[in-house]
Structure formats: structure tokens, C-alpha cells
């Protein structure tokens, strides 16, 4: 790829009549745009919708976060007030931030590791068994809202599965109110979240492992790679860097967005806000109290947190193996 600078920037542009004076940057661009008219036409429908439902809302959200807005009156500019209120006066927001970071710090890396480790072990299986185990691990994440099962498992009476088994084995005498006890709520949500988290990133790893060049392993064995751990470290991981980075984005982003599971299992609001996350806090102000300016400030903080963390992690991962 070192000769890339020798190429013209847009090689398939027709040059047209040779002009006497050197062409300006803009006219070169305009020609390039004209030559690729079909590209823009093909992209137009998608990009229009993408701009309308993804890019524009992000910009609007940032703008609205500096206003007082209740959906009835025209938004009123109030500067940083929403943010100062959020961080200085809103105690529950701080609980939400703490819980979200806790969820993200635990489920993010854990689910990422789980995705990789299971994909790695599965990759050593024979094809039929490999397809079956892939299904077993991937199924929870695609089966929709079956996490109601966990409500049956952690139900507070003695018919709940966890309570039933523990009582039957004589470990506890009285049923535990799992989802009404602050100490258990977070752990249970993390458990369920992990159960649901082997999704797209997991598939990307399964696929990535299958594309690692097999001759590299043989060459490695000749060069003195002695066991599977060295093979993993020196050959597999460096060969899979692109998939590792993609998987990181997928796993991290979803680890910040814990809300559905929390609301479903712990209720909304949860006992003493034990399961309040930034997203549930956002829903509280956006869909119940209609303080849209304030809710947008929460959304903007969440946006910065997600994108910022992702960019940092990308930078770190890029360095792995260099």
C-alpha cells in the first residue's frame, strides 16, 4: 500500500480537456462529485433516513439540552443550567451514573471476554458440534424477551426456582425476596445481562477465528510455539484484531444501555433506586415528567459517555500486538 500516494486521488475521474492553468481544488472536487453521481444517488435514500433518524436527533438532543423545554412552550435557552442541576442537585442521577458505570465496568469487559473465550473454545470443536454450541450460546440474545424466565427463577415466593431449590437443599429456610432486596438486585441484573450478551460480537469472533490462516499455526509450531496459550497469544489474537475491535464496540455500547432488563426485573422505579440507570433516569424525565431539556442533558451525557469510552478503547486495542 506504499504506492498509494502515487495514485491520483480519484483515479476513475475522466480527465476531460487538458486545461492550461492548474485546476483549483474545488473544481477537481466538483468533477469527482459529478463523475460519481450514481454513487450519491444509490446512497441517497439510506443517508437521508440515516441523517433524519440518527444524525439530526443527536444534534437536536445536544441543542435542546441547553434549553428549558416542556413540549408545550417554545424552548427557552438557559445555558448550562440543566447540566449543573444534573450533577449538583440531582442525587438520583448520581446513583444512576454510579449504577451505569458499575454495569458497564462489569458486563462490558466480562461479556467481551466471555464472547471471545467461548468462541475460542467452540472453534476447536468439530463442525457439527460447533454449529450446535454456537446456537446454544447465541440463542438467548435472539430469543427476544424471554428474560421473563428469570422473573420465574428469582420470584420472591417459595415457588420461585432459586428459592425452591435452595429451600429444598436446606441452604435457606425462608424464601428470599431477590428482586426487592437492594443487595441482590444489581448482581441479578448483571447475571441476566451477561446471559443476554453473547450476540453479534460473539458471532464476529466465531467467524474471525475461522478465518485465521491455518498455515500460520503450522508455521508457529515449527517456530517453537509450544501450547495452545502461546498459540492464542502470538498467532490467534494478532490475526483477529479487526474483529476484536468490532466486538469491543458492540459489547461496550450495549453494556451502557442497561434498562429493559432492569425495568422488567426490578421495576420502575426500583426499590430505593437500586437499579436506576442513566437510561431509566432519562425515561423518567422524558416520558413521565416531560422535562425535555433536562432529559436531553441526560441523553447528551450518555452519548458522550458511550462514544468517549468506545473511542478510548479503540485506541487501546489498536496498540495491542504492536
Amino acid at each position: 500500500m506504499s504506492d498509494v500516494t502515487l495514485q491520483e486521488p480519484y483515479p476513475d475521474v475522466p480527465t476531460g480537456r487538458p486545461s492550461i492553468r492548474p485546476e483549483s481544488w474545488w473544481s477537481v472536487k466538483r468533477q469527482a462529485i459529478k463523475a460519481h453521481k450514481h454513487a450519491y444517488i444509490l446512497m441517497a435514500p439510506y443517508m437521508l433516513l440515516f441523517g433524519m433518524f440518527t444524525v439530526l436527533p443527536v444534534i437536536m438532543s445536544i441543542v435542546i439540552s441547553f434549553t428549558y423545554f416542556n413540549m408545550l412552550e417554545f424552548p427557552k435557552f438557559i445555558g448550562w443550567q440543566n447540566y449543573s442541576k444534573l450533577f449538583l442537585e440531582d442525587d438520583i442521577f448520581l446513583i444512576a451514573v454510579k449504577n451505569t458505570l458499575l454495569f458497564a465496568a462489569i458486563t462490558g469487559p466480562l461479556s467481551y471476554l466471555a464472547c471471545f473465550i467461548f468462541a475460542w473454545i467452540i472453534n476447536d470443536l468439530r463442525p457439527k458440534l460447533r454449529a450446535f454450541m454456537t446456537l446454544v450460546f447465541y440463542a438467548p440474545s435472539i430469543s427476544g424477551n424471554v428474560y421473563f424466565i428469570w422473573l420465574m427463577i428469582f420470584s420472591g415466593d417459595r415457588y420461585g426456582i432459586a428459592n425452591g431449590l435452595l429451600i429444598n437443599w436446606g441452604i435457606i429456610l425462608e424464601p428470599i425476596q431477590w428482586l426487592k432486596t437492594e443487595a441482590y438486585i444489581l448482581a441479578i441484573i448483571i447475571l441476566v445481562q451477561l446471559w443476554l450478551s453473547l450476540g453479534t460480537g460473539f458471532l464476529a469472533f466465531i467467524a474471525g477465528l475461522q478465518t485465521v490462516n491455518k498455515t500460520l499455526y503450522e508455521a508457529g509450531a515449527v517456530d517453537g510455539v509450544k501450547n495452545r496459550w502461546q498459540e492464542l497469544w502470538f498467532i490467534t489474537l494478532p490475526s483477529m484484531k479487526p474483529q476484536l475491535m468490532f466486538g469491543a464496540v458492540i459489547q461496550l455500547t450495549s453494556s451502557f444501555a442497561v434498562a429493559d432488563v432492569s425495568i422488567y426485573l426490578a421495576g420502575f422505579p426500583s426499590v430505593n433506586y437500586a437499579a436506576e440507570t442513566i437510561v431509566t433516569h432519562l425515561m423518567d424525565f422524558g416520558t413521565i415528567r416531560f422535562e425535555m431539556g433536562f432529559a436531553s442533558a441526560i441523553a447528551t451525557v450518555l452519548f458522550m459517555l458511550m462514544v468517549g469510552t468506545n473511542l478510548i478503547v479503540q485506541r487501546l486495542l489498536r496498540r495491542v500486538g504492536e
Binding site: 486521488p9 476513475d12 462529485i33 460519481h36 450514481h38 444509490l42 446512497m43 435514500p45 439510506y46 433516513l49 440515516f50 433524519m52 433518524f53 443527536v58 437536536m60 438532543s61 466471555a114 473454545i121 476447536d124 454449529a131 454450541m133 454456537t134 446456537l135 450460546f137 447465541y138 435472539i142 430469543s143 427476544g144 424471554v146 421473563f148 424466565i149 417459595r158 426456582i161 425452591g164 446471559w195 458471532l203 474471525g208 475461522q210 499455526y217 503450522e218 508457529g220 501450547n227 495452545r228 483477529m240 479487526p242 474483529q243 476484536l244 475491535m245 468490532f246 458492540i250 455500547t253 450495549s254 432519562l282 422524558g286 432529559a295 436531553s296 441523553a299 450518555l302 452519548f303 468506545n310
Partner: protein, 288 residues
């Protein structure tokens, strides 16, 4: 003798103890992943007294179809005919998936194969949008939906799904591996760019279609209307089923039956398309 040689040939650097340990770990983890689903499947066939047996059992002892019979009876009584919920979900899923595959592929082709001004900016924006979840944009999205009159219509769910960023990303990565020579040859034969896209590129990215289909399918199949749909006759199957599941103890069996029906569809779809999805995912990597 033959057997040992085959084993040794299969893979270098694999100790028996290590394999045993790792596969044991995989089996335990697999059980953790599978047991809740196995329980859910069995619960759908349990008579009510067996669901609330103490101590709880995993497998059904006297399988019965009564939960499904009750479900049908319950559906007959609902205010909106249940077929309407099914139609709503099938319509939203079908339209959304079809539109997404076509629009995302059309946008992915130029991004993968041409070098035009603005390409880097557009693709970087798409990658950035993978880094946050839709909750961030929920409030402005509601405002936009009401400006364009999409509130309380199917379109509020369908149209944004067309522009689902992960689909475009995966499709673009997959298209990059189509040889340029194929496109060049078609160009020499006089095909227009649109014809090349439709007749050369699209048939060659079928594995990626399947991937986009299953990713969007699971998203739309499980939608509850995203807060945009209010009319009872427009509500989705997922909404109706969560009403049933929340019906309490008396409905526990029916709830399990409904959940089984709902989850069997995406899982079946995945079973039949797994190899093609893995093929697409091989190209999913983020490059520097």
C-alpha cells in the same frame, strides 16, 4: 493406530488435559446458557399444577397441550382479534427487513467500491453511530416523528429501521471482498452502475442479506412499537404477549406457551442461516 494418527494430524499444540478442562468449562457455561431456555420450553407443556410444583422441576412429566388450547381460547376473547397482532408484527417485520436490505445494500455498494468525495466522512459517521444506542436519540426522534406525522402508524417503527447502521456497516465490509474485476467486466459490457449493483453485486452478497435479515428480524420481531404506537389495533404481537405474560399466576402456562411461539421463530431462522451469517461476520472487522 489409524485413529491416533488422525488425532495427531488434526491439530498441533493441543494437550489432552487442557482440552478436557476447557471443554468441561464450555459444558458448564453452555448449561447456564441453555437451562433457562430449556425450562421455558418445558414450561409451555406443563399443566398448571406442575409449573408450581415444589421443589421445581426442569423437565415436564405429563406433557399437555392445554396451555396452547387456553391460549387460543384467550385470544378468541380479546378485544382486538389476535390475528391482527400477528399481522401487525409480520407487516412491520417484513416491510422493515425488505426495505433495510435494499437501501443498506444500495448505500454499501458505493462505500465499498468507489472513492468519492465525502466517503470517509459518511462512513466514519456510520461507525460512530454504532457507538451509541437508540435511547440517546429517543426524545428528538419522537419530535421528528410527530412533525412528519408518523406517530401512531406502522411507519414510525418501519422507516427508521431502514437506516439501521449495523446493517450498512456489515454489508459494506462484505462487499469489499467482491473482486473489482467483476465490476470492471460488467462495465466493459456496457452495464450501468445501477444495473451492476442490482444484477452483479446483489446476487453476490446473498450471505450478507441473511445476516442483515436476521439482525433486523430479531429487532423488529420483538418491537413493542417503541412508544410510537397507541392504537390497540396497531399494536404488535410482542406487546400482546407481554400483556398475557403479565397476567399473573393463572396465566403462567399460557405465558410460557406464547413465549415459546415467539422465540421459536428467530431461533429457527438462525439455525437455517448460521453458516451464511458466519461467512458475513468474517468480514466484520474494524480496520485502522
Amino acid at each position: 493406530m489409524n485413529f491416533t494418527i488422525q488425532l495427531r494430524k488434526k491439530r498441533v499444540n493441543r494437550s489432552f488435559a487442557g482440552s478436557f478442562m476447557l471443554f468441561a468449562f464450555l459444558a458448564v457455561a453452555g448449561a447456564f446458557m441453555a437451562l433457562p431456555l430449556v425450562y421455558a420450553i418445558n414450561a409451555a407443556f406443563k399443566p398448571l399444577d406442575e409449573i408450581f410444583l415444589f421443589p421445581p422441576t426442569l423437565f415436564v412429566r405429563n406433557p399437555t397441550m392445554s396451555n396452547f388450547v387456553d391460549l387460543i381460547a384467550l385470544l378468541g376473547n380479546s378485544w382486538v382479534p389476535f390475528s391482527r397482532y400477528i399481522f401487525n408484527t409480520v407487516f412491520i417485520t417484513g416491510m422493515g427487513v425488505a426495505g433495510h436490505v435494499i437501501l443498506a445494500s444500495a448505500a454499501a455498494y458505493p462505500l465499498a467500491k468507489f472513492n468519492f468525495p465525502g466517503k470517509t466522512l459518511l462512513f466514519t459517521t456510520v461507525v460512530l453511530s454504532l457507538m451509541f444506542t437508540p435511547q440517546v436519540t429517543a426524545i428528538p426522534n419522537y419530535m421528528i416523528m410527530s412533525w412528519i406525522g408518523f406517530i401512531d402508524t406502522y411507519w414510525a417503527v418501519i422507516v427508521p429501521a431502514f437506516a439501521f447502521p449495523l446493517g450498512l456497516y456489515l454489508m459494506k465490509q462484505f462487499m469489499e471482498q467482491i473482486p473489482d474485476a467483476l465490476i470492471e467486466a460488467a462495465k466493459i459490457d456496457g452495464a450501468s452502475e445501477y444495473r451492476i449493483f442490482w444484477q452483479i453485486i446483489m446476487p453476490n452478497v446473498k450471505p450478507a442479506w441473511m445476516t442483515l435479515i436476521i439482525l433486523l428480524f430479531q429487532l423488529l420481531w420483538g418491537t413493542d412499537g417503541n412508544g410510537f404506537i397507541y392504537s390497540e389495533q396497531l399494536k404488535t404481537l410482542h406487546y400482546a404477549s407481554s400483556q398475557i405474560i403479565q397476567g399473573g399466576i393463572a396465566r403462567a402456562g399460557v405465558g410460557a406457551a406464547v413465549a415459546l411461539i415467539l422465540m421459536s421463530v428467530p431461533i429457527t431462522l438462525f439455525v437455517f442461516s448460521q453458516s451464511r451469517i458466519i461467512e458475513t461476520m468474517a468480514t466484520s472487522g474494524l480496520k485502522d
